[in-house]
């Protein structure tokens, strides 16, 4: 196992080992000097073809806390479009001597293509609508730290919103299922996948019907461009049917937690008071991101392979 491209690469045992490792890195991140020499001499490049300051900073922070050297490459896909091919770009970067490439791309499968061309370890930091495996891992870590190690089995998780266009959902469904949770994807038919064949999840178009039984409500971001593509009539209608409003939050079980991968549209898919309520573990998600990415980088570069 040389790369982390998909949750499929891990399996339940691989996920659990990475989560255990992440726990130890959470401890590191809380030290006065949150830095260990585990990857001294290694070079990690973040190769971002799509803007994402948060994810890039999270990976770069993780690499620095492991004492790896970091490089950063950002390019708008469009400007690369006609010129240098992806292959030429990554071969050039690899020639500089890098041990890992953390790839974000607007196209599904771009990290898989890169992994087939280079010897360096490739980490998928989000590829189009396909996957975002470290997001799923940090979500699992956050849930496990919040609910306890044995909480996953039978845990009812609802992923609500734009599942069709969401890499967070595609990785999340697989990861939650792998650890034993029971996943339902919820949204209007235009934002659910055209086919759910092979998905380890149930589907519903009625949030109010599903809501009372959920242990976790995972809210996905809604993008305005969905309106122009005739996928939604209006954000107001979306909020009225699928938004996690204060009224809906009041119908949740007392210990149900609320998650969101960010950035949030407060007042659209989630009400501000819900995002900031005690039920919300959204801030913990962000904090755990660095530890999870440290675990991934250390597994790939430090121990000679992912613990899978």
């Amino acid at each position: 196992m040389n790369d982390l491209l998909s949750i499929d690469d891990l399996g339940a045992s691989g996920i659990n080992e990475l989560l255990d490792l992440s726990e130890s890195f959470v401890e590191v991140t809380r030290r006065d000097i949150p830095k260990i020499p585990a990857l001294r001499g290694k070079t990690v490049v973040t190769l971002f073809y799509e803007d994402s300051t948060r994810t890039r900073l999270s990976f770069e922070t993780a690499a620095k806390r492991l004492t790896a050297d970091t490089m950063s490459f950002t390019a708008a896909s469009s400007s690369v479009g006609k010129g240098e091919s992806l292959l030429d770009t990554v071969r050039t970067i690899e020639a500089m001597g890098v041990d890992a490439m953390v790839v974000r791309h607007r196209c599904a499968g771009a990290p898989h293509r890169i992994a087939s061309w280079v010897d360096a370890a490739v980490v998928n930091a989000g590829d189009g609508r396909h996957e975002h495996p470290t997001q799923a891992l940090l979500d699992l870590l956050t849930l496990r730290r919040h609910l306890g190690t044995d909480a996953f089995s039978g845990l009812r998780i609802g992923i609500v919103g734009d599942v069709r266009h969401s890499r967070v959902a595609r990785s999340g469904v697989k990861a939650f299922d792998a650890v034993g949770a029971d996943v339902t994807v919820v949204g209007p038919p235009t934002l659910l996948p055209e086919s759910l064949e092979g998905w380890p999840a149930r589907a519903s178009t009625d949030l109010d019907d599903v809501l009372p039984e959920l242990d976790v409500v995972y809210v996905l971001r809604i993008q305005r461009e969905r309106l122009g593509a005739a996928l939604l009539p209006s954000l107001r209608e979306y909020t009225s049917r699928y938004g996690l409003t204060a009224a809906r939050a009041a119908r949740l079980k007392p210990d149900t937690v609320v998650m969101h991968a960010g950035p949030m549209n407060r007042g659209v898919e989630i009400a501000a008071e819900v995002a900031d309520s005690p039920a919300s573990i959204i801030t913990e998600q962000v904090a755990n991101g660095v530890a999870v990415r440290m675990a991934v980088l250390w597994s790939l570069l430090g121990s000679g392979g992912l613990v899978a």
Partner: protein, 432 residues
């Protein structure tokens, strides 16, 4: 075998054409078939022992990329790939740069084709710039010999424009309007078949209905105008059914399928390798079965390659950013034999009908596809139907390498190709 002999005999083969099947030698003299007899002696020999001698294949659908993208293919190299694949005539598709919507451009393609090792017929655009708005000068192109009008690569999306194009083409005997049937408003932005795999992979899809709705509409427009419509590269069960129904009602429609649509499915896209990206996209097992059924019952008239070369850099991209298209000329005959004839989906004569004489009729290519009999132009293909070979992209004659069949083992390989009496391929080697 002397260079370009004026007289030679294709010896020891089994002659198969639209009239039947017999073991015979074929004497070629001065560019035409001079004799077909049990034994012909006294002329230089082109050995065909153990082989079939068939009319040269005719491809209704080849992207030769000239003018405009000569890095990917030229008329010369595309024709060589065609000849090696057993074709003696191909129809060049119009999505060149500039496109084939202008008499001077079409004339340049035809001129280059006359120097090539395969006859090159030019298609002509239906609309200016393939934009689906104003009619291209169909009369001027027809006068140059264009018989197939298409905006291929683009669908004529507006029903009203398609209707006017069909009406206007009604003035040109033998002309056919060929549609790339994918509704742009349904398929636009999609990169693979919409279904199980696209949903899993997060790749935007092109739904089956994008093809079927256009086919349904254009069947009605063919009925309304009486002008023949040819459906290019059909890929879905629904479209095959619509064409079958239309033919039952004697609506003037014909249809082709490409080898990749009876060989590969959308599951190939799971590796994100753009070698498997094509429009219309690879479909499901059920669609593959329907395409085969359509070939078997005669609903489908032709097997066409949709040969679409791209330089390597174009495919060294993420799936969604790579252009659609795959090579086809050098593998079409072998795929037909391997996937259709060997498993018994299609009898050999029916397969040859789809590869040779039926497309020749659609394209109005009188010198191709006819019976192998004295007086006919000697456009012939000699194929060894038993030989097993493995597709090696580096050994293809095309300028490009984007075959989805790398490493695949196929049965049947073209041994010789004869173009108007000239052996342009001998023992699998192009002679010029």
């Amino acid at each position: 075998m002397p260079d370009r002999p004026d007289e030679f005999v294709i010896k020891g083969g089994r002659v198969v054409d639209a009239t039947g099947d017999r073991v015979a030698d074929v004497l070629v003299q001065g560019g035409v078939v001079a004799a077909v007899a049990r034994r012909v002696e006294g002329a230089p020999v082109l050995d065909a022992a153990g082989c079939m001698v068939v009319p040269g294949l005719v491809d209704l659908h080849a992207h030769l990329r000239e003018p405009g993208d000569e890095e990917a293919e030229t008329i010369e190299t595309g024709a060589r790939a065609a000849a090696l694949g057993g074709f003696t005539a191909v129809v060049a598709m119009p999505n060149t740069e500039p496109p084939l919507d202008d008499a001077a451009v079409v004339a340049s393609v035809l001129a280059a084709g006359r120097e090539a090792v395969c006859d090159v017929a030019s298609s002509g655009c239906i609309t200016k710039g393939r934009r689906g708005e104003e009619l291209a000068p169909m009369g001027e192109l027809y006068a140059l010999g264009v018989r197939i009008f298409t905006d291929d690569g683009a669908c004529v999306g507006e029903a009203g424009v398609m209707r006017r194009a069909l009406e206007y083409a009604g003035a040109f005997p033998g002309a056919v309007v060929a549609q790339h049937a994918e509704d742009p408003s349904l398929a636009g932005g999609g990169h693979m078949h919409e279904g199980t795999w696209s949903s899993r992979l997060g790749i935007p899809g092109r739904p089956e209905a994008a093809e079927a709705t256009v086919v349904a509409r254009d069947v009605m427009l063919a009925e309304l105008t009486g002008t023949p419509v040819h459906f290019l590269h059909l890929s879905t069960a629904a479209a095959v059914d619509l064409v079958r129904d239309a033919k039952d009602r004697d609506v003037p429609v014909t249809a082709e399928v490409a080898p990749h649509h009876f060989t590969l499915t959308d599951a190939e896209c799971r590796t994100f390798d753009p070698a498997f990206k094509v429009h219309p996209p690879l479909r499901t097992d059920a669609d593959v079965a329907a395409v085969k059924a359509g070939l078997a019952d005669g609903t489908i008239d032709a097997i066409a390659t949709d040969h679409a070369p791209h330089v390597p850099e174009a495919k060294e991209r993420p799936f969604e950013e790579a252009p659609p298209g795959m090579l086809g000329l050098e593998t079409a005959f072998a795929l037909t034999l391997t996937e259709l004839v060997e498993p018994g989906v299609l009898a050999l004569p029916d397969a040859l009908a789809c590869l040779s004489w039926q497309p020749a009729v659609i394209a109005g290519l009188d010198g191709h596809g006819g019976p192998i009999e004295p007086g006919r132009p000697a456009n012939l293909c000699v194929v060894d139907p038993a030989v097993r070979w493995e597709v090696d992209p580096s050994r293809l004659a095309s300028r490009s390498r984007n075959t989805p069949y790398a490493g695949r083992k196929l049965t049947g390989r073209v041994r010789h190709t004869v173009l108007r009496g000239e052996p342009v391929v001998v023992d699998g080697i192009a002679q010029r």
